[in-house]
Amino acid sequence: MNRVTALAVSVVCIGLVVAQDVAPLADFFHTWQYATALALGALVLIAYANAALKGQDGMLGKRCTLAIAGALVVTLTGIVSGLLGPDTQRVTHAPGTVAPIPDLHAAAFFTAADAQSIAAGNAPIVIRRPGHRDVEVGPNERRFLQSSVLLLQPTHAAFVEVRDASGDRLTVTQPTNASFLSPVLLFPNEQEIAGKKLPFDTFAVPALQRVVKTVYLPGEMTTSLRVPPSYAGKPALLFAVDDDRGSSHGIAIAPDGLDVTIAGMRLRGTIGSYPTLVVASAPEPIALAAGVALFLAGITWMLIGFVAGRPAALTVKSPSGS
């Protein structure tokens, strides 16, 4: 085992673990092959360090073990995240609700959302753990907790408002949803229309005994539908209203933010997105940074030793002394 091989293995291991930190959702980083590769790398590094510490690679070898130690820290961080980190999970919950994340011994608070925040798609999710500060995860952020990375992925959402004929607001319920009183539709199901599978959800208006099936129509479908010209090419909602005995009371297409009147109700859907929380295993960032720093320090120390130990000819003065 020579020094160049050990350093090459170090670089590969560090590269793999850093890549896992950059792209924690990539499938490769959650396979046994990845963990095995890191474990083999760790064995190579330990074998070299053991030999170098016995003096088998001279002074530079001893200095090199500092870099190897840093690489080992990084490699072990990667292995630990694979063994102890959670399987990748995506948690979708209604705004204002709480979802337990047992792997992190934490709870995710899905922040309340009104029509404006659904339209803007900027709702954060707050992670609470006993004895720790709250961690807020924003739309384009990532946060590390233990051996996990938390990030948000936007999902289709619509905030629905229902009014009666006189304009009074009516309660919206989702009897088939875990969040019974949510006016935010998250479209967990699919409905096939014109050969396309489209996001689908259902809500009820109990005051009028109405059930409203709602399909999310993507922008490319609204170009051929009867919507105001300024809304063509933009997402819209298709509302199909039944009574609670299943009789149909009509269908309407509602462009984003516009009222439609159907079955004695005024319906409005504000279209946007609401985040799904993604939890994936990832190397612990502090340990990763410490390992990389140790590796770089070792390389530097080794280079200093290399320069200092170069042949004296480089620094010998000329015989003339001029």
Partner: protein, 178 residues
């Protein structure tokens, strides 16, 4: 060199301990299956809303008092049946510093105000048009009743209609906790 490696190993061990230390403080209930019952012990969330008279209000304004918060709507038959008992509870316990708070879910202020007036409801009624309280308190139906202690933490969450005796029973632990 061996000393250095030992130090590096110690640093790694400390980092691992820091990363996986579960921490102290109050426990979160992570094994609950859902519904308002799972909220016991959690801090009560508040959202700014209006009363039926148009005044600004919200649960946080009652911090320091025991609050019986009832989520309801005028279209909900069990909610309507429960309201006389809530009114009695309010009259009985309000002198002892207990607040009964009705939070109408998703209806217009005019509708809730009319109902409260016609049925002699005198405890405060809040209008939660966006149904934020219903979601935050994990309501799986209406009515839903949440008892909140003086410290702002949820003592009990109950799904479904309650009798006056059940309300008194639910309230007792919050009153005992001084």
């Amino acid at each position: 060199m061996r000393t250095f490696l030992a130090a590096a190993a110690a640093i790694v061990a400390v980092l691992v301990v820091i990363a996986f230390y579960p921490g102290g403080g109050p426990k979160l209930n992570l094994n609950a299956t859902g519904g308002p019952r799972m909220l016991a012990g959690a801090p009560a969330q508040s959202f700014p809303v209006k009363r039926i008279d148009g005044a600004a209000d919200g649960l946080d304004r009652y911090r320091g008092q025991v609050v019986v918060m009832n989520l309801w709507a005028t279209w909900c038959p069990p909610c309507r049946e429960e309201m006389p008992a809530l009114q009695k509870l309010y009259e009985e316990y309000h002198p002892r510093g207990v607040i009964v708070l009705g939070v109408d879910q998703g209806e217009a202020s005019r509708v809730a105000a009319k109902y409260a007036r016609e049925h002699g409801v005198t405890y405060p009624i809040l209008i939660d048009e966006d149904q934020q309280y219903g979601r935050a308190y994990a309501a799986v139906g209406l009515p839903t009743t949440i008892v909140i202690g003086r410290d702002g933490h949820i003592v009990k969450g109950i799904d479904g209609q309650l009798t006056l005796a059940q309300m008194r029973e639910a309230l007792a632990p919050a009153l005992r906790a001084q």
